[in-house]
Symmetry: C2
Subunit: 123 residues, 2 copies
């Protein structure tokens, strides 16, 4: 039985292999695109509060996401500087940067997988 | 920046890269594990009605799934035989078998991708 189904499809070029990907801890989803975007926004805006606003969530929600993520790593992902004259702010740590890079690379590999499979489906 | 994050994780061996996969038509999900299982059950039980029962869904629901799938292929996926002495029944076509084989192989390639990524994450 041929495994190439494209000859059996009515219209070619309109199909794609799509998917979702996440990291699980003991089978439970622990991080994916959402938390990664939050870290990016903290890095960009220099504050958890601003990042939360950018993403349309409460400070409390953003902090809970970060706090849940922190449990998995040897170093916190976000460090909050105490306010001096200019007030405080938050910065992401090297560990956060490392995870973000890993996640970005992982997404690229997944995108490549989907692209290859989509190519096979439509060829 | 190292992309291997495993050295930064508190506990090793408990993480996995998990995901979901489906086929989309013009961006809309059109088939995945559910419809494939339905085809398997029709093949096994020889009837859409029995297959629907096995999967805890109504005949109407099962028929709608098959009918929606049929639209994408040059040949129907399920053929209903008219009842003779022993009554009718449904059989899956070569096209259905071809799709099921394709889907099974695709799932294997995805499982391999996830396994490789999980290995990297925990190494």
């Amino acid at each position: 039985m041929a495994t190439n189904i494209s000859t059996r499809l009515k219209s070619k070029g309109k199909y794609s292999v799509s998917g979702a990907l996440w990291i699980a801890y003991e089978g439970e989803r622990c991080f994916g695109p959402g938390p990664m975007q939050l870290l990016q926004e903290i890095d960009k805006t220099g504050s958890i509060n601003n990042a939360a606003k950018e993403m349309g969530m409460s400070y409390k929600k953003a902090w809970t996401i970060i706090s849940d993520l922190n449990k998995h790593f040897n170093e916190p992902l976000v460090v909050t500087k105490s306010g001096g004259e200019g007030g405080g702010g938050s910065v992401i740590t090297d560990t956060a940067k490392s995870i973000m890079k890993y996640h970005e690379d992982l997404r690229k590999r997944f995108a490549k997988f989907l692209e290859t499979e989509t190519g096979k489906l439509n060829k």
